[in-house]
Symmetry: none
Subunit: 505 residues, 2 copies
């Protein structure tokens, strides 16, 4: 046992050093995306790739392999949900997977991604899909090779999805998203038929940026984001970067004439940040201190952004202060403001979509990327298939591919299997929120009084502190009694929209 | 020869990777000193020490040692001032020195520095020297171990000084500083006896920070600082960090009611930044692309801060704009403003000291740190010794340690042997400025027209582009015909102060 304990300590030391290098890498990337001087880009790429090599070397070293093999049958691994057991289980799994990838494929893929992303930027700005086509073909070919090298039970897509949502099966995700689609389509149609529309000009008045920043920080702090262990900065594409046990940095972008842009990005990223800040710092970089899946991560951001930040009681609490900060609101009634931030409208761009239609954007991508990967959909036919699905699900079609199938960076970056985690996050959020309501009572009442700590404490205990000691499906099962379920999300959306649009519950 | 060329390329590759890791380290430190969330400090210390170990490992690897040994007698090393020759010469010297340092000491020291700095911040803000005392004791213990491991000819201090001013001997530096002290004392006394004083209230009016920032950036840009390859941020203790071939970050601190504080810090750090930005980017991380010594680095910052930025023609050019930016200047005549920024007055704070007394601050620190290192001065007695020397040389004593021996970051950062380079810089600056005047003609006339490029181009050619192909004494010899000489500085000061204070030339 002593011997095993020593081996386990060595393992934690090796992986801990890789985590330190990885957290340094996070700082390099955060800096690059926020404040780095423009001419520093070329050398930054060299720094990043040197560090990436060092991290990969440590994580896949023969020493780590030997330690994991020896520890697999040790008493430390007996309980797969203990700190040690989970660490051995998760690291063994990652090690087996990563070791199956031929080095040549890893190198080829990383080069292909760089080229594909550069080409995608050009193709999007020039609305030139044919330019991007061979690159996407190449990415897909390499993704297939990668999936084949790793292996899978049912479909190639399983092997890719696993990077983002470990232990999830494509068939289960597909079933949940399909059920969601079947129920969402009528909801969106009912809303459209209601003929009701919020007064959107309310959100497009003068919202001075300094006041937006003050308000965003204030609310982020109120919901529990610790600015002593984090920051809020400005970027083009908002993100959250948990770069150390007490260093989580979120970003947003300000539009002086559109209030929701910065505020909901701040709240969304702060939601991610609360998860990062809620992870166990004594296990930083090890599975018990790591987030469990992108779907669960997204459940945290979407819950704070939407279920909290777009709720009626939330604005009942904050609206008086908002009116003081932004004189352009004048005598606008709170109800009108609340309706405006809950506008539902089919649109072309995923990142600007409302809560209800957002999932349709995701479902389209999820279906298309599976078809692309299997080869059922030739890349050449992607623009047509994209437009057809948008017409079918959202009733609109883009005039060009730039706002169509070229709008997202993901495919060019080799992120195939990533999209469904956005909708998993929405479904998980609703499931968790229901359970929190059962456990804690009327959350809305609390929000109305500006009390967010009960919900945060509950999330810390149930979701954050377990880290990756359970898989995401197990974690959801433990908390809510089921893994994925689309019904709570539908119920939540109907309950919210019923009074606004005069539709049925 | 082909073989040697391959060996040389391998050497550059290895050292280039160490330089990449070192530049990453710079980012970690810049981030820590400017914007890092406070709670992230402990983990940052671990990141920094891991990286320090990796850098040391690479720089002192057996491979590097073998390559250097083989190349030492190669034709590539024949000219010690060629790119390859200087690289082999300087790296061999560093290798011999660094190989003597045990890895454990390097790691311990780098951890100790981070913790000492964090403690120093608290100690200074709380005026609590006893809090800092054990950290300084620890730093000094490690510094002695370091000096003993490296070895030295005359004194332990030599071994430390060499890190900042390579090839300098403590005895030579002490001789120059002693001569400077002997000549400065009468000058400062004559000024005091003149009974003349500028109207200092001019500088203490309302100087809104946003306008200060605008003006500081404007002037930094005018003298040639490239903001596409650099940044200006805020810190408590201004510094310049050249962290990549096109990434140089300077910092300053603003005081709304004291104009010179931020402006001259900005100009000072921009002067450092011009040196960093003027180094050859194709040789980044290698001796031909490295600064030659801190003394020479400081000569650049002091020249732009003082010889340019405190000159009469400089303000003749900028004063009209300054008056527009700061209405509180009212009808204040330019001459009064110029006199005020050239006030000579014994004071407590080094970084706010005038050009003349500044060197006395340095001499105090130089003498004290030698005594601390040798053990002649116990750390517990530092505050008393500090106050005694201030009384003796400047005729004043601080009421507290925050404005006394806790005012500088250096000792907490393990920078012992660093202080004298400030006064070396002042002396070098005057020597270089004299030579530039001989070569270019009346620089003052140019400043009066807002023309700074002739001086910058001259510095680029003479000082920046040579990098470390010559030692600092050789470089000064090449440019000015002498190495260290305190007389040009004295002559410059007397010439400036004569009309202001009515003293002799």
């Amino acid at each position: 046992m002593t011997d095993y304990q020593q081996q386990y300590d060595s393992l934690c030391h090796e992986i801990g050093e890789a985590a330190k290098l990885d957290s340094i890498q996070q700082l390099l990337e955060w800096d690059e995306r926020t404040i780095m001087p423009p001419k520093a880009g070329a050398y930054r790429a060299e720094q990043v790739s040197l560090l990436a090599g060092l991290i990969h070397e440590r994580r896949t070293s023969p020493l780590v392999g030997e330690l994991l093999e020896s520890l697999a049958d040790s008493p430390l691994a007996a309980d797969p949900h203990s700190d040690a057991g989970a660490t051995i289980r998760v690291l063994s799994r990652d090690y087996r997977r990563d070791s199956k990838l031929p080095q040549a494929l890893v190198v080829e893929l990383s080069k292909a991604k760089v080229l594909a992303q550069q080409t995608w930027v050009q193709a999007r700005s020039g609305n030139n899909f044919p330019l991007f086509r061979p690159q996407l073909d190449n990415i897909l070919r390499l993704m297939r090779e990668m999936a084949d090298a790793i292996g899978y039970a049912e479909s190639r897509y399983d092997a890719l999805l696993d990077y983002f949502e470990p232990e999830a099966k494509t068939s289960e995700v597909a079933a949940a998203l399909s059920a969601l689609k079947d129920d969402l389509a009528p909801l969106v149609a009912e809303i459209a038929q209601s003929g009701r529309h919020p007064k959107m000009d309310i959100l497009k008045r003068d919202y001075p940026i300094a006041a937006q920043e003050e308000f965003g920080k204030r609310v982020a702090k109120d919901i529990g984001f610790d600015f002593e262990a984090g920051r809020l900065d400005v970027t083009h594409h908002p993100f959250c970067c948990g770069m150390g046990p007490h260093d989580c940095r979120i970003t947003t972008r300000y539009d002086q004439n559109f209030f929701p842009s910065a505020f909901y990005s701040t709240l969304h990223e702060a939601g991610h940040g609360l998860y990062d800040q809620g992870l166990r710092s004594d296990q930083f970089g090890l599975p018990p201190g790591n987030y469990v899946s992108l779907g669960v991560h997204e459940s945290q951001s979407r819950m704070w952004e939407n279920m909290v930040g777009r709720s009626y009681p939330f604005w009942r609490h904050y609206y008086p202060e908002l009116k003081k900060l932004f004189p352009s609101l004048g005598d606008t009634p709170m109800g009108d403001f609340h309706f405006a931030v809950n506008d539902v409208q089919p649109s072309l761009i995923r990142v600007e979509a409302d809560e209800a239609t957002y999932n349709l954007h995701i479902i389209i991508r999820f279906e298309l990327e599976q078809a692309l990967l299997s080869g059922d959909l030739p890349v050449a036919d992607l623009p047509g298939a994209w437009n057809e699905k948008y017409q079918q699900l959202l009733g609109i079609t883009s005039d060009d591919d730039a706002d169509g199938c070229l709008q997202d960076v993901h495919w060019s970056a080799g992120l195939i299997g990533y999209f469904p985690t956005y909708s998993l996050g929405n479904m998980y959020a609703a499931q968790l929120f229901d359970q929190a309501t059962i456990d804690l009572g009327d959350l809305a009442e609390m929000f109305g009084r500006g009390e967010f700590m009960p919900l945060l404490s509950w999330l810390r205990e149930k979701v954050h502190q377990p880290g990756s000691r359970y898989t995401a499906p197990q974690l959801m099962q433990n908390i809510c009694g089921e893994s994925i379920d689309h019904r709570p999300l539908l119920k939540y959306l109907r309950t919210k929209y019923a009074p606004l649009y005069g539709i049925g519950h």
